[in-house]
């Protein structure tokens, strides 16, 4: 792999607090790489170490094959797009984009050529003489990208740049960012707590929790084969059932679901599952389907508690009759139409699932993730998440 950015045994401590546990990672040239995690997980700290705003307590950052120790922010081949963009409000669009070149002593004509070219790239030709305060949110976003690209960085660092935009614009900018990244071929390192952004744009995603990288994988693998309980519950939605391993045959694992009876699942990639070991079975809401009386296979008997109409799908909140645990079920509109009369709070309904789609992971005391905020709430002993909500100093 043609490595562009390399974290070599990097550790970051603030006083007694370890913000980043020992981490090694390589990011390839031209890759769109995301760090995804809840607030306080250390992703911004990693970004700051790459950009040079923070010096790692241990280990070394490499960019383009060069060690970065002792190289100050203004000498690094990186450019950052800040969460609030940090455009210079007293300067015109041209002056903003050309700032990095001005600093490098590029002459005026050359600078103007570059900024005209970049304005064309971000589809804002002709607005160079405007003040940045006259631009809309989306336009500011693009100027920030142009300003960062003007210095021809080897790596573009993006710190949740879309979080200030409204939903429609955000989705539009995702596509645009991805297109710009393809056109320029520059390595993008993207920080976000929004899994939608990470999954749609990235070539690879590193999921982080409590200063530790939980898994690095392409979005599809991340979603289909989470390696840890944290990833399983943080990326997408997941129902978690506590089970015991009965035995394993290749990928197939037979499970004892306690009151739920015998269940089946697919062993997570590279996980070790001993017979009799406590484990967790993760089933995504969209992989559950209603069972008729004649259908065979494992059967989860539930009572519907609430039905939410989401447009393209229905979200059911149900409770497992046997164990009293919650089970969230997502039904596509076709399935929902067929079962329409049965979908009312208080009605009983049985669900089945394809064992191929249900991942079994060792019970590592996976953290509870707050569904609304994505924040880590708590974790059983032995897990690696700290008690939730603490804020990591990010500067």
């Amino acid at each position: 792999m043609d490595s562009n950015v390399k974290l070599d045994e990097v550790v970051m401590r603030f006083g007694d607090f370890t913000a980043i546990e020992r981490t090694s990672l390589e990011i390839a040239s031209g890759e769109f790489f995301s760090f995804l995690g809840p607030s306080g997980c250390g992703k911004t700290t990693i970004l700051n170490m790459i950009s040079g705003f923070l010096r790692p307590s241990e280990g070394q950052v490499w960019i383009g094959g060069e060690p970065m120790a002792g190289v100050p922010v203004n000498r690094r081949p990186t450019a950052m797009i800040f969460q609030n963009l940090a455009l210079f409000p007293l300067m015109t669009v041209f002056e903003n984009i050309e700032f990095g070149l001005e600093v490098r002593g590029v002459d005026k004509r050359k600078r103007r050529e570059v900024s005209e070219r970049l304005l064309a790239l971000v589809a804002l030709e002709g607005s160079g003489s405007k003040l940045v305060t006259e631009l809309s949110g989306g336009q500011k976003q693009r100027i920030a990208i142009a300003r960062a690209l003007a210095v021809e960085p080897r790596v573009l660092l993006l710190d949740e740049p879309l979080s200030a935009l409204d939903l429609k614009l955000r989705q539009h900018m995702r596509a645009e960012l991805k297109a710009i990244q393809r056109k320029t071929g520059i390595t993008f390192i993207y920080i976000t707590h929004d899994q939608g952004e990470a999954l749609t744009m990235s070539d690879r995603v590193a999921v982080m929790s409590a200063g530790r990288i939980q898994q690095v994988a392409d979005p599809m693998t991340l979603y289909r084969s989470p390696r840890t309980g944290f990833v399983a519950s943080f990326v997408g939605e997941n129902n978690r059932l506590e089970v015991k391993v009965i035995d394993r045959e290749g990928e197939r694992v037979r499970l004892d679901g306690g009151a739920l009876g015998s269940l089946m699942g697919r062993a997570g990639d590279d996980v070790v599952l001993a017979n009799g070991q406590a484990a967790a079975l993760y089933i995504r809401p969209e992989h559950l389907r209603p069972l008729g009386d004649g259908d065979s296979g494992p059967r989860l008997e539930t009572t519907i508690e609430a039905v939410h109409f989401e447009g393209a799908w229905l979200m059911l909140e149900t409770r497992l009759e046997a164990s009293g645990e919650k089970l969230r079920v997502q039904l596509g509109s076709e399935l929902a139409k067929r079962a329409a009369q049965a979908l009312e709070p208080g009605r009983q309904i049985d669900f089945g699932f394809d064992p191929e789609e249900a991942v079994v992971l060792p019970d590592d005391g996976s953290p509870m993730v707050d569904e609304a905020t994505g924040e880590v709430l708590e974790v059983a002993p032995g897990g690696n998440a700290k008690v939730g909500g603490e804020h990591v100093p990010s500067a």
């Binding site: 203004n74 450019a79 950052m80 800040f82 969460q83 940090a86 700032f99 600093v103």
Partner: protein, 295 residues
């Protein structure tokens, strides 16, 4: 304004507030000023001659300044020295204000501000006297420099304008530090980080990002310092040498030693015009309006 006030407090209170405000401005500010201007345009007469045929409006008091070479020189020297004091104060205050606003931890900043303010609990005259002692020919500063072997014989700090400069920078530093601090403090840290990230060194980051942002604060600080310096009496009186008289001392002399209030009023009015002129120049130069400064 009346409508806003009466909606909030009712008509009677609103009227009372506005009447008081109007009276205060009239009696305490406008009338005395008008009186002084009136004085400045009349000749200095004996009480018996007041209202007589000689009591007419004249420019003679203003002409005095243009005919008196020494006074004219002192007038322009005051202007020039006040500009110098202002610049010196700015140069000293900027790093301090930047440190307080962006570098220091809140604890350090609080301690620093406290240390800056405590001396100002002491009367200005006393503080100025302490500089008189420090800078004296046989004073501690000369002793220290001698002891360190940096000089062979004591320096006369207090001859010339040096003492006045030091005294004024010290006396008015807070009026520069606080506007600067407020202005720099309101700058988003990411602006500085972005400039650094795009390759700017320290000097350029200040020149292109911090200073332009702090412009209204710089203008406010410069105007205040200049006004105070140009209108200062105690510092030049105490720390000045005979050769470094301030225009305020001349005005004082007209009033209280020459007994010529009319002449003094004319000089005072000219100083006021000078200050207003300087203020407008600074505002034009920094491209800020009165509204920015009042913030």
């Amino acid at each position: 304004m009346f409508r806003q006030l009466s909606e909030r407090f009712g008509r009677p209170v609103a009227m009372a507030i506005l009447t008081l405000l109007g009276m205060w401005l009239m009696v305490m500010v406008t009338l005395p000023q008008l009186q002084m201007i009136d004085y400045s345009f009349r000749p200095n007469l004996l009480p018996a001659q007041l209202g007589g045929p000689e009591d007419v409006w004249t420019l003679s008091n203003y002409v005095t300044l243009f005919n008196n070479e020494i006074h004219r020189a002192i007038f322009f020297k005051t202007l020039w020295s006040s500009v110098l004091v202002t610049l010196l104060t700015l140069v000293v205050s900027y790093p301090l204000a930047y440190y307080l606003a962006k570098v220091a931890t809140p604890r350090q900043a609080a301690l620093c501000i406290l240390l800056l303010i405590i001396p100002f609990w002491i009367n200005e005259i006393l503080r100025t006297y302490s500089w008189f002692i420090i800078l004296a020919f046989r004073g501690p500063l000369n002793e220290i420099l001698l002891a360190l072997g940096l000089i062979d014989r004591p320096i006369r700090f207090l001859s010339g304008d040096g003492g006045v400069m030091v005294g004024m920078v010290y006396a008015y530093i807070l009026f520069m530090v606080f506007p600067l601090y407020n202005a720099i403090e309101s700058l988003d840290d990411n602006q500085i980080r972005a400039a650094r990230d795009l390759g700017a060194g320290n000097v350029r980051t200040h020149w292109r990002i911090v200073i332009p942002h702090a412009k209204p604060g710089i203008a406010t600080g410069c105007i205040m310092t200049f006004m105070l310096a140009a209108g200062s009496y105690a510092v030049p009186a105490l720390l000045g040498s005979p050769g470094s008289r301030w225009f305020t001392q001349i005005i004082y002399n007209w009033f209280f030693e020459g007994g010529n209030w009319n002449q003094g009023a004319a000089y005072a009015f000219l100083l006021l015009v000078l200050c207003i002129g300087f203020m407008s120049l600074v505002m034009k130069f920094f491209k800020v309006g009165l509204g920015d400064i009042a913030k």
